[in-house]
Assembly symmetry: C2
Homo-oligomer: 474 residues x 2
Amino acid sequence: MTMNIGYENLDALFHPRSVALVGITTSNPEHWTRGFLEGYLGLDFPSQGNLYLVNPRGGTVDGFKVFQKIQDIPDTLDFVVGLVPSRSASQLVIDAAAKGAKFIHFCTAGFSEIDDEEGKKLEAELLRTARKHHVRIIGPNCLGIYCPESRMSFSALFSPESGPVGFISQSGGNANYLIRQAALRGVHFSKVISFGNACDLNESDFLEYLADDPKTKMIAMYLEGIKDGDRFLRALKYAAEKKAVVMLKGGTTPAGARAVMGHTSSLAGSRDMWESLCRQVNAIQVQNLDEMTDVLVTLTLLTAPAGRRALLFGGGGGSSVIVADTFEKRGMTLPQVPKPVINKLREFSQDAGNFFSNPIDYSQSMDQANVKRALDILMGWGEFDFIVNFMVPGQSTRAGSFSGRVFKFDHLSRPVAIVIPPAFDPAEADGIFRYINHYVVAGYPVYFSFDSAACAINLVLTYNERISFRQGLR
Amino acid sequence: MTMNIGYENLDALFHPRSVALVGITTSNPEHWTRGFLEGYLGLDFPSQGNLYLVNPRGGTVDGFKVFQKIQDIPDTLDFVVGLVPSRSASQLVIDAAAKGAKFIHFCTAGFSEIDDEEGKKLEAELLRTARKHHVRIIGPNCLGIYCPESRMSFSALFSPESGPVGFISQSGGNANYLIRQAALRGVHFSKVISFGNACDLNESDFLEYLADDPKTKMIAMYLEGIKDGDRFLRALKYAAEKKAVVMLKGGTTPAGARAVMGHTSSLAGSRDMWESLCRQVNAIQVQNLDEMTDVLVTLTLLTAPAGRRALLFGGGGGSSVIVADTFEKRGMTLPQVPKPVINKLREFSQDAGNFFSNPIDYSQSMDQANVKRALDILMGWGEFDFIVNFMVPGQSTRAGSFSGRVFKFDHLSRPVAIVIPPAFDPAEADGIFRYINHYVVAGYPVYFSFDSAACAINLVLTYNERISFRQGLR
């Protein structure tokens, strides 16, 4: 009997007809185990599947009968979320298998990640039991599955909307953060797997699955360690040939590696190794979750620019200088606007306080009619590949609140990126959130700083250039 | 007659007994010229000096009589803010000089910064007139002076509180941004000069003045170009020997240099040159205004750590891994907590979900009593130079809003930095603003990302190390 049942069978994991939350607390609504119930209810799983709760105390929770034993459930089970103490994990595998479950996610911590022999023994026993009963384990020490299409969720705060991104995260907290940050920016997910200690199913299983999943157009990974280097290398190469892969490797420094050991019991690998690996397979390597969000925003919402020529258009003289420096330092070019085009702009724009060299500092003439006319003239010239519209609140002498005018860019045949810093000042927060939301709803990529925009756009341009280069070599 | 009257006389510029705002609009309260009146009233200048308004239309504004001519003012003048059109600037110099004014700030744009011979001619004529009438010019094309001590301000949004930072900014918008950002973080200013085209008084004059100003403990500069390289080099060396100098040079790329030309009519200089210059004189070079704010926060609020050993303490496993990597990549070391110390922490901390290796992931045991006990144990060990307390909202499965617990660190004999991302999610904004404000009011340095904290702390540590190294060589 081989236990390598292969990634192709994982499809069932993401489409269960019946799910049991085993070990959910009945007494304390504040207890963390309730988060899973909230997640499945928040995405309305019961509208398309059967949801069961199990706790030895019985009773009801949120109108759901709580079964005292998993054996009492009058149904077979496809997927079990294990919220039981680590010592009860193996017994749950046996009981769930008897109910037909093929997949069990163990949220439970207290296994190999703690610095203690007992935890390692329990995890080894858990795996042996799972193998024996033909059950696959997700975890332990993780948050499991978010799949909007099938209404599976480990948080009620996640969007019900599906999107193109598959995310494989060794950390549950980082999964929560990325999913919510990305949704605020208009980026949604096909499947997210928080997989923790990976005692059974691991990063390579999920990577191979997502590489072939037609609902997943790009793959993001937060990894702390890998279980089998050779297999992972093959899986990464395979996935990166088919889809954009965005990689955040945690634990590439000595202290980071120690944190990884305590967090998910993994061996981290060196920084140089990961950099060269990502370069070799053309995966997009990022340094933190915000950079990952920026890259996903760029991949999904900034329709691939034809090249590196940026037209920067926005408000404020000092800002214009800094944004120009930032984009050139990150490898973009800012073609100079020719004199005849500048003269056309001058005809109807206030002269003092505006300048037109690229960046176009248009702060003194910012109304929709002028902006449209100016952009139409610039499009008539057209020697740029994308537009960056920037706006920096807090530059004004008088405006304590922020009511940034929003513009329409739909008619332009160039991708447009929006840059606005996040809310630092409570007095500006409402206006900034409204501004951001306007552009997110309208489908634009929104970035929170000049540098984060330039960095993410550069990473994606580099990725695209490498694809073209390799295709050229074939 | 020499016109190099020297920086020592600038003291009068910052302490006028009488100020006239000439050219302020009488009809339109929304007009930008009103910002200066709001600024002087906002800081209550009339409580210690005489404020006069001038406009040919006369009348009253905000209860102030508006004089039709500057000659009508029944007082001598120390300082004039020129809000008149560029063509009237030279005449204003003559009239103001007749009233005794030694300093005129011209906010007016439309001089050498516009791509037009007329502007350059007007600026040259303005300077000739000023020389002839023994008047010094600040500007044109800038916002002028903010000096809380003497209640001068170009914005009502600025803090009335004085602080240790002198700021010389060629851009008015960047001055507005930095002053407000810094105040939100608990950093205040001695004097700020927005100096624009610098047709007369320039960056070197102000730098020499602030180097000797006892109210100024450190100097920040946003420069686009310099008027006299040799003199500036001497001034910078002189200032950097006496005080920390934080330098943001705009226009170090081709497009940035073009923007500089349109913005303040300056020649920018190359990136390499500025980098080597800053290294040579031990000025702290930063890449943008947020980094400048972070460095000022560090210099003023993170009592100089004795070394690079960081103790990271906070919440979230995935965050812990990333913060560890970030601080080590930026050149800090994270000493490993010894086993006996970890065992002491284990005695009263929940085991699963916490780890204690540095970073200390304390997310599962975060209450004031536990945190205090844990930090006391860690202080008993003490092999670290500073503490970074980190908190990342949005990692939680259940908390949609943010109500981060705040802790007391007063009893620790190590500097403490606070890291929390800014408000990205409207639902978390109130809680985050409260959290930030708590620590700012309590006098802690607060940073908005792992990387911005690590970057700024590294820059300041490097600055301190170079000072020690040079002193060692003497």
